[in-house]
C-alpha cells in the first residue's frame, strides 16, 4: 500500500505531444507520457533540501562544488555552438539542462554529444546534467503553437530560477544565451539570476583567462562562415549505408592514411571486434577524390570498385614532398589489391591538430580582413586546413592548435578554427608540446584539490601508519626478509621480494607491491586524474607522472628501512617448486635492503664480504657478529630466489614460451617491469626479477578471473597472422636461414639459430622483424571476448594481467581493486561492470599506445636536434648501416651506432641513380635500377653494383628540416663498403650514444634560449629551474634505460 501512496504523492503524470518524422517521411503524431517529480536531485554541495545527490556514478565527485562563485546554465544554442568554451578546464560548475542536452543530441552531432558526455564525466569540471523536464517545478509545457526556440529558452530560464530558489539564493545563476529576445525578456526579472551572452560573460568573469577571448572570436568567425548545408551532403544517407553494410555491399572501417604518401595512398582497416584472420586485407583508397573528404582516423564506409579498376600500391619510398602524380604510375607494382571509394562517413574522429602557417607571404595577403588562410598540419596525414583568423601577424611563426569544423562538398580543404598557440617554431618547449598534442596526451600539473586529498609527509608533520590499519593487515615486518632489486638510484620502488624456508621444508616466495589503492580511493579526484592519464609518460628529457609525486616517490615507494603498506602475493612451494598454496592480501612490510642489479648479481656469483658491505649502505656500521648473520641471510635469499626463478622460467619456456627477454628490447619493455630491467649489462638477475613479476601477474590474473569471470581486467597477446612473417622469412632466407613460424616455441628456436658469426646485427635485425610481425598485447575485460582468446602468446600463459606497477600504470590499480574484492577485503560494489571496464580497457590501450608514440617521437625530435648543427662531413654524421629492406628506388637501412632506421634513395626525383665511382665518391648519373627478392642492382654506363640484404654500407646523415612538420633525417649513400675501422668506431665511440644526444641538445637549447629568445621567461635560469622543478633526473629517466639497451645491442658478441 505504501508504494502506491508514495507513487501518487511523488509523480504527476502529464503528456507530451510530438510530431515525429517516420522513416518514409510521414509525420506521425506521437503522445509520450512524462512523469514529473519533486525529487530530481540538484547535485549541488550547497543543497539544503536533502536531495539524493549520491546517485550519480562518481559518488561525491561529479557534482556542483560549493567553491564555485556562480553556476552557469547554457541554453541550447550556446551548448551546441560554444561547447568548446565550456570545455575550458577553468570554467567549472556548469548545469546542462536536459533540454539543452537533447538539443545537442538531435540538432548537433553525435560527436558533439560524446564531447558533452565526456565533459560531464570529467569529475574535475564539477558539471552536471539537470533533468529539468522531470522536475515538477522547473518543467514548462510547450504551449500550442509555441516556437521551439522560444520554448527552449523559457525552459532554460525556468531551470535557472528553480536552481536559484532551490539553493535559497546562496549562489548567483548565470544563463548564457545568444537569443536577444530572451536577454531582454528575462535579464531584469530576478536579482542574481543573470542572463547574458557568452561574450559578456567571458568579459565579465574570465577576463584574466588568457586566450579564451581569442577562442571565442575564432569560434564566432567559424560559425559565421558556416554554410547552411549539412556536413554530410554528398554522402549516401545513413540508412542506405547501414543496409549496405548489413548486406555486405559496403564495408565499414577506419581510414588510415599512409604517412609517406599522404596525397594518394590510404587504407581502410576493417573494424569490428571479430578479429578473424580470414577478414582479408585492408581496402586501398587511391587519391583524394575517392577519399571523399574523409580524414585519417574517421570511421568510414567503403564501396569496393570492380576488379578492373583495382590499383596497386606504390612500392617506392616516396620523398615526403613529392606531389608529382604522373611519376607515380610507373612505380606502381603489378599486383593489384582491392580498391574502393568512400561513400559515407559514420563517425568523424577529429582530434586537435597542431598546424603552422605557410611561410609563403603571397597566400596570406588578404588575411588581415579576417579572411581565410590555409594552415599546414604537423601530421602529414592530415590535409591542409582552412581557418579564419585576424591574428595572422602574431601567429605567423608559431605552432598553433587547430580544430576542424566541417568539410564542404565543393571545397578542397576542410574548415577549422584556431584554438590556441603553442609557442614559437623551433623552440624545444613548443616542439615537446606539439608532440604531446599530436599524441593526444594532456599533461597539466596536478591541481591543489588533488594534492589535498592525499596525505602529506613533511618534516614537521610526518606521515605515520595508524595502528588500526596495521591491525587489519598481515604484519610481515618481523617475520620476513624483504628486499628490492632495482636499477641504481631508483626512487619509485613499486615491487619487493621475499623468500624463506618454512618449518615443513617448503619454500615460501613472496612478491610485495606498493599498495597504491590504499591511498587512492575509487572515484576520488586523484583517481579520475590517474584514469585519464592511464600511464606515466616518459619522454627523452622528462617524465609526466600518472599519480602525484608524494605517492609515487614517497609514500608508495617501498624503500628500505621504512614501514610501508603493501599488497602481497605469497606462494608456498614444495621442494620441487610446485605451488602448494597461494595467499593474497594486504600487508605491512619493511624492506631490509634496497639492492641494485649489479650487486645482486655479484652476491650470486660469490662476491666477498667487503665488496657487498661497501655497496649496501644498510649493512654498514654493524658489529661483526650481526654482520655475519645478516650477510648469510642475504646471500642465501638471493641465491635461492635466483634458483627458483630459473625453474619457473624453464617451465614457462618449455611450455612453449617465446623467450622474450632475448628476442628484443621493445617487447621486454612491454611485457615486464621496466624498472626491473638492466641498466648496465644483461644480467641473470634481471630475468629473475622479471620472472617473479610475471609469476605474480599470472597468479593474480587467475584469482580475479575466478571471482569475476565477466569483469576482470586481463591482458592478452593474440597470435600473429602467418602472412605477417613473410618479410622475416624472406630476409632470413637471403642469409640462408630457415624460420619456422608455426608456433611461438618453434619461432623462438629458429630465431636462436639465426646467428651470423661475423655480423651480430643480423640476428638483431631478424628479431626486430619478428617483433614487427606480432600484434601488441592489449588489456581487455573478460566479459567481452571469448575465453579461448585470453592467452598471452609472447609469454605462453593462459591468463595474464598487470599487477606489479601500480605507480605507473592505471590498469594495475584496477587489478589491485579487483583482487581486494576477490579476497573479500573490499566490497565489489564499486568495481566497474563489464561494459565500463571494456571502455576503460580501450581507453588504457589507447593511452599506452599514445605514450609509446610520444616517447618515440621525442627520441626522433632529439635526434634531429642533435644533427641540426653538425657539418655534413662531421665524423659523427658518417656511419655504418645495414640494409634490411629493399624498395623500388632504394632501400631501408639500420644504423647500429645510433639505433636509427631510415631510407636511402638510389634514384632521385630526376630519375638519376647514384653509383660509386672509381675514386670512391658517389655520383649521380642516368641509369637503371633492377630489383629482385634479395638484392637491388644499380646499372649505369660505367659499371653496375649490387646491394644485397644485410650488406654493410656507409651513409651520411644530414638533417632535412621542415617548417610545418617534424624535421627528418636524410641519409645519403657514401660508399658501398662498410665504414672503415668499423669495429674501433663501435667500441671506441660508445660515448656518443643517445643519452649524449639528449644532453647535448639540452645544453644547446639552453644557450639558444639565452641568445635568441630573451623574452623567454625561463631564460638564463633555465638549468637551475630545471634542476628544481624538472620531473626526471637525467640519471633516472627511462630514456637512459633505453639507452643502455641500445648499448647492449651494440656490443660485439
Amino acid at each position: 500500500m505504501t508504494y502506491t501512496q508514495q507513487m501518487e504523492e511523488k509523480l504527476v503524470k502529464t503528456e507530451r505531444r510530438l510530431r515525429i518524422k517516420g522513416s518514409q517521411g510521414k509525420t506521425l503524431r506521437v503522445v509520450r507520457e512524462l512523469y514529473l517529480r519533486d525529487d530530481v536531485p540538484c547535485q549541488s554541495d550547497r543543497c539544503l533540501a536533502d536531495c539524493e545527490n549520491n546517485i550519480g556514478m562518481h559518488g561525491t565527485i561529479g557534482r556542483l562544488s560549493n567553491e564555485s562563485t556562480h553556476y552557469i546554465i547554457p541554453d541550447c544554442q550556446v551548448a551546441r555552438d560554444y561547447l568548446e568554451i565550456l570545455e575550458t578546464p577553468d570554467i567549472k560548475g556548469i548545469v546542462f539542462t536536459q533540454t539543452a542536452v537533447h538539443s545537442v543530441q538531435h540538432e548537433g552531432s553525435k560527436r558533439l554529444y560524446t564531447r558533452l558526455q565526456n565533459l560531464i564525466k570529467d569529475g574535475r569540471k564539477r558539471s552536471v546534467i539537470f533533468h529539468n523536464e522531470f522536475q515538477r517545478y522547473a518543467y514548462c509545457e510547450r504551449l500550442p503553437g509555441e516556437n521551439l526556440v522560444h520554448w527552449q529558452s523559457r525552459s532554460t530560464y525556468k531551470a535557472c530560477e528553480w536552481y536559484y530558489d532551490h539553493l535559497a539564493g546562496q549562489i548567483p545563476m548565470v544563463m548564457l544565451t545568444h537569443n536577444e529576445e530572451a536577454i531582454q525578456l528575462y535579464s531584469d526579472k530576478k536579482v542574481n539570476v543573470f542572463v547574458m551572452t557568452v561574450k559578456d560573460y567571458l568579459a565579465g568573469f574570465w577576463e584574466q583567462l588568457e586566450g579564451i577571448m581569442d577562442l571565442y572570436e575564432s569560434l564566432t568567425t567559424a560559425l559565421e562562415n558556416k554554410s547552411k548545408d549539412r556536413d554530410y551532403s554528398g554522402y549516401l544517407p545513413l540508412d542506405v549505408l547501414e543496409a549496405g553494410i548489413k548486406s555486405g555491399r559496403y564495408i565499414q572501417g577506419i581510414l588510415e592514411v599512409n604517412r609517406h604518401n599522404a596525397s594518394t595512398e590510404a587504407f581502410v582497416r576493417r573494424s569490428g571486434r571479430t578479429k578473424k584472420v580470414d577478414s582479408v586485407e585492408d581496402i586501398f583508397i587511391h587519391g583524394m577524390v575517392s577519399r571523399n573528404r574523409s580524414i585519417h582516423g574517421d570511421k568510414v564506409v567503403v564501396e569496393i570498385l570492380p576488379q578492373s579498376q583495382w590499383k596497386g600500391r606504390s612500392l617506392a619510398i616516396c620523398p615526403d614532398e613529392s606531389e608529382d602524380k604522373s611519376s607515380t604510375d610507373d612505380k606502381e607494382s603489378d599486383s593489384v589489391i582491392p580498391t574502393g571509394i568512400i561513400v559515407g562517413i559514420l563517425q568523424r574522429n577529429w582530434r586537435d591538430y597542431v598546424a603552422t602557417f605557410s611561410p609563403d607571404e603571397e597566400s596570406n595577403k588578404n588575411v588581415n580582413k579576417g579572411g581565410k588562410v590555409l594552415v599546414i598540419p604537423y601530421d602529414y596525414r592530415i590535409p591542409k586546413i582552412r581557418i579564419s583568423t585576424r591574428q595572422i601577424d602574431k601567429l605567423k611563426d608559431q605552432r598553433v592548435l587547430v580544430r576542424l569544423d566541417s568539410w564542404e562538398m565543393d571545397s578542397q580543404y576542410p574548415n577549422g578554427h584556431f584554438v590556441r598557440s603553442l609557442g614559437m617554431l623551433g623552440n624545444l618547449e613548443t616542439e615537446v608540446a606539439t608532440l604531446l598534442v599530436e599524441n593526444s596526451i594532456q599533461a597539466l600539473p596536478f591541481t591543489d584539490n588533488q594534492i589535498k586529498e592525499l596525505p602529506s609527509d613533511t618534516s614537521d608533520n610526518p606521515w605515520t601508519m595508524t595502528d588500526e590499519e596495521i591491525s587489519r593487515r598481515h604484519d610481515l615486518r618481523r617475520s620476513h626478509l624483504v628486499f628490492s632489486i632495482d636499477p641504481k638510484g631508483c626512487e619509485d620502488v613499486d615491487d619487493t621480494l621475499s623468500i624463506r624456508e618454512l618449518e615443513n621444508g617448503n619454500m615460501e616466495l613472496g612478491v610485495h607491491i606498493a599498495d597504491v589503492t590504499y591511498f587512492i580511493e575509487s572515484g576520488s579526484l586523484t583517481d579520475i586524474e590517474a584514469r585519464s592519464r592511464s600511464t606515466t609518460v616518459y619522454l627523452s628529457d622528462r617524465r609526466y607522472d600518472m599519480i602525484p609525486p608524494i605517492l609515487s616517490s614517497n609514500l608508495c615507494s617501498l624503500i628500505s628501512g621504512v614501514d610501508r603498506y603493501a599488497m602481497s602475493v605469497i606462494w608456498e612451494m614444495t621442494k620441487d617448486y610446485e605451488v602448494k598454496k597461494v595467499w593474497y592480501g594486504r600487508t605491512v612490510i619493511q624492506s631490509k635492503y634496497k639492492l641494485f642489479y649489479e650487486i645482486a648479481q655479484r652476491i650470486n656469483e660469490g662476491a666477498n664480504d667487503d665488496e657487498i658491505i661497501e655497496n649496501i649502505p644498510e649493512l654498514q656500521g654493524l658489529d661483526q657478529i650481526e654482520l655475519d648473520i645478516r650477510l648469510g641471510e642475504l646471500r642465501w635469499a638471493v641465491n635461492k630466489l635466483m634458483s627458483v626463478a630459473r625453474i619457473l622460467k624453464c617451465r614457462r619456456a618449455s611450455g612453449g614460451g617465446l623467450e622474450l627477454d632475448s628476442v628484443e628490447v621493445r617487447v621486454e619493455m612491454e611485457e615486464s617491469d621496466v624498472e626491473n630491467l638492466t641498466p648496465k649489462d644483461h644480467l641473470e638477475v634481471h630475468e629473475t626479477i622479471a620472472e617473479c613479476m610475471i609469476f605474480a601477474n599470472h597468479w593474480v590474473a587467475k584469482k580475479i578471473v575466478e571471482h569475476f569471470p565477466n569483469q576482470a581486467l586481463l591482458r592478452n597477446h593474440p597470435s600473429p597472422r602467418q602472412d605477417q612473417f613473410d618479410m622475416l622469412i624472406k630476409c632470413a632466407a637471403s642469409k640462408g636461414f630457415n624460420i619456422d613460424t608455426t608456433s611461438n616455441k618453434s619461432l623462438a628456436e629458429s630465431l636462436n639459430r639465426c646467428v651470423d658469426v661475423n655480423d651480430p646485427t643480423v640476428n638483431k635485425l631478424l628479431r626486430q622483424l619478428a617483433v614487427y610481425a606480432m600484434s601488441t598485447a592489449q588489456y581487455f575485460s573478460t566479459g567481452s571476448i571469448a575465453h579461448d582468446q585470453f592467452f598471452h602468446y609472447g609469454l605462453a600463459l593462459d591468463l595474464y594481467t598487470h599487477f606489479t606497477s601500480p605507480i605507473r600504470r592505471y590498469a594495475d590499480i584496477i587489478v589491485h581493486r579487483q583482487l581486494l574484492a576477490a579476497i573479500g577485503v573490499d566490497n565489489s560494489d564499486n568495481l566497474p561492470s563489464n561494459k565500463i571496464l571494456d571502455e576503460l580497457a580501450d581507453h588504457i590501450n589507447i593511452k599506452h599506445k599514445a605514450a609509446q608514440n610520444a616517447q618515440r617521437d621525442s627520441q626522433e625530435l632529439f635526434q634531429s636536434l642533435y644533427f641540426k648543427d653538425k657539418k655534413p662531413d662531421d665524423e659523427q654524421c658518417i656511419v655504418d648501416a645495414v640494409i634490411f629492406q629493399l624498395r623500388v628506388n632504394g632501400f631501408l637501412v639500420f644504423m647500429p651506432r645510433y639505433g636509427i632506421k631510415g631510407p636511402v634513395y638510389l634514384r632521385n626525383k630526376e630519375g638519376q641513380v647514384v653509383f660509386i665511382g672509381k675514386d670512391g665518391k658517389p655520383e649521380w648519373t642516368s641509369g637503371t635500377l633492377v630489383r629482385d627478392d634479395k638484392s637491388i642492382t644499380v646499372n649505369t654506363l660505367h659499371n653496375s653494383h649490387k646491394y644485397s640484404l644485410f650488406n654493410h654500407i656507409t651513409v651520411q646523415i644530414s638533417l632535412q628540416s621542415s617548417r610545418a612538420h617534424s624535421a627528418s633525417l636524410r641519409l645519403e649513400l657514401l660508399d658501398n663498403k662498410p665504414l672503415k675501422d668499423d669495429k674501433s668506431t663501435l667500441n671506441g665511440n660508445q660515448n656518443t650514444d643517445r643519452s649524449d644526444i639528449v644532453k647535448e641538445v639540452q645544453s644547446t637549447m639552453i644557450e639558444g634560449s639565452e641568445k635568441e629568445l630573451p623574452s623567454h621567461d625561463l631564460g638564463p635560469n633555465f638549468a637551475a629551474l630545471k634542476r628544481e622543478f624538472g620531473q626526471t633526473d637525467d640519471s633516472k629517466s627511462l630514456y637512459h634505460i633505453f639507452e643502455t639497451f641500445k648499448k647492449i645491442s651494440l656490443q660485439p658478441l
Binding site: 500500500m1 508504494y3 502506491t4 507513487m7 509523480l11 503524470k13 503528456e15 506521425l28 503524431r29 506521437v30 503522445v31 509520450r32 507520457e33 512524462l34 512523469y35 514529473l36 517529480r37 530530481v40 536531485p41 547535485q43 546517485i55 550519480g56 556514478m57 543530441q105 538531435h106 553525435k110 554529444y113 560531464i120 546534467i129 533533468h131 523536464e133 522531470f134 565477466n710 561492470s833 563489464n834 561494459k835
Partner: protein
C-alpha cells in the same frame, strides 16, 4: 532510435521514471452492465478493456467440452485506433492468436477450473490504446473482470514486464523502451504464493542477469497486486453501500 538514451547516468528513464518505478495505474471494475464481469485498466498510456461471460454452457461444438473442468475461452484484439497510425487489425492474425493462447494458458492456471466441469468461461480483451506492455495490461484487466464476475481464482493474477539497460533492470517498460531491441522479460505470478504462472522472454539476456531481472519483474507484479487489491476493495465497498442504501 540509436540516439535515445534509455537510462541516463542519474538513473532516469525517458519518461522521467526511475528504473524501479511502474507507470501510473488506474482501474475500474464493473464498467459494463451486460457482461457478467468487466474491468478497465490504464497502465500509463496503455488502455485495456476486459469483459467476462460465464460460467455458462459450452457454446458451439460440444466436442470442445471438457469433462473434468471448465473450458476457458479467450479472445484478444486490438482496436484499429490503438496505435499512432490507424490500421485494420483482423482478429485471426498471428500476433493476436499468440496473445490469445498466452492469456488462455495464464487463466487456465489461475482459475479453479475443476469447480465447473462441462461449462465455459469467456474472457474478451480489447486493447484501446497501446503503449507497451499489452499482455501485462490485458492480464491485469482480465483478473479484475474475473473478480467482478465472481469467478473463483486461486489468487490475483498479476503481470509485469522488465527490461535490461546498461546493466540495470528496468520495470514496466513502455513501447519506446520495448522497441529499442533490448531484452524483455514478461512475468505473470500469483502474488501470494509467488508462483510463476507465465514467463516469456524476448531477445537475448545473459544467464547471470536473469535472476536480477526476474526479481525486479516479480516485485513489479507485487506492486501491481497492491493497486489491484485496493481497487477491488474500493469497488466492493461502494457496491455494498449502494446495496445498503437501496434496501
Amino acid at each position: 532510435m540509436a540516439g535515445l538514451e534509455l537510462l541516463s547516468d542519474q538513473g532516469f528513464r525517458i519518461d522521467g521514471r526511475r528504473s524501479h518505478e511502474l507507470r501510473k495505474i488506474q482501474c475500474r471494475l464493473g464498467v459494463f452492465k451486460q457482461a457478467d464481469g468487466s474491468a478497465y485498466i490504464e497502465q500509463g498510456n496503455t488502455k485495456v478493456l476486459a469483459a467476462v461471460y460465464g460460467p455458462h454452457e459450452v457454446k458451439g461444438s460440444r466436442a470442445k467440452m471438457l469433462q473434468d473442468k471448465v473450458l476457458v475461452n479467450c479472445q484478444y484484439s486490438m482496436a484499429t485506433f490503438s496505435t499512432g497510425e490507424r490500421k485494420r487489425r483482423p482478429r485471426g492474425d498471428r500476433k493476436s492468436t499468440e496473445m490469445t493462447m498466452h492469456l488462455k494458458q495464464t487463466f487456465d492456471a489461475a482459475i479453479i477450473t475443476n469447480l465447473y466441469p462441462r461449462s465455459q468461461i469467456d474472457i474478451y480483451v480489447e486493447v484501446l490504446q497501446s503503449d507497451g506492455g499489452n499482455y501485462c495490461a490485458s492480464v491485469n484487466a482480465a483478473t479484475l473482470a474475473l473478480i467482478d464476475a465472481g469467478i473463483p481464482l486461486k489468487d490475483y493474477v498479476c503481470a509485469c514486464s522488465a527490461g535490461f539497460v546498461n546493466d540495470t533492470p528496468i520495470v514496466d517498460i513502455s513501447y519506446l523502451e520495448e522497441s529499442g531491441g533490448g531484452p524483455e522479460l514478461i512475468v505473470t505470478i500469483l502474488p501470494k504464493s509467488e508462483q510463476i504462472v507465465f514467463l516469456e522472454q524476448n531477445s537475448r539476456l545473459h544467464e547471470d542477469n536473469l535472476s536480477k531481472v526476474l526479481d525486479v519483474a516479480s516485485k513489479g507484479c507485487k506492486d501491481i497486486y497492491a493497486i489491484l487489491d485496493r481497487a477491488v476493495r474500493d469497488h466492493v465497498s461502494k457496491v455494498s453501500n449502494v446495496a445498503n442504501t437501496t434496501e
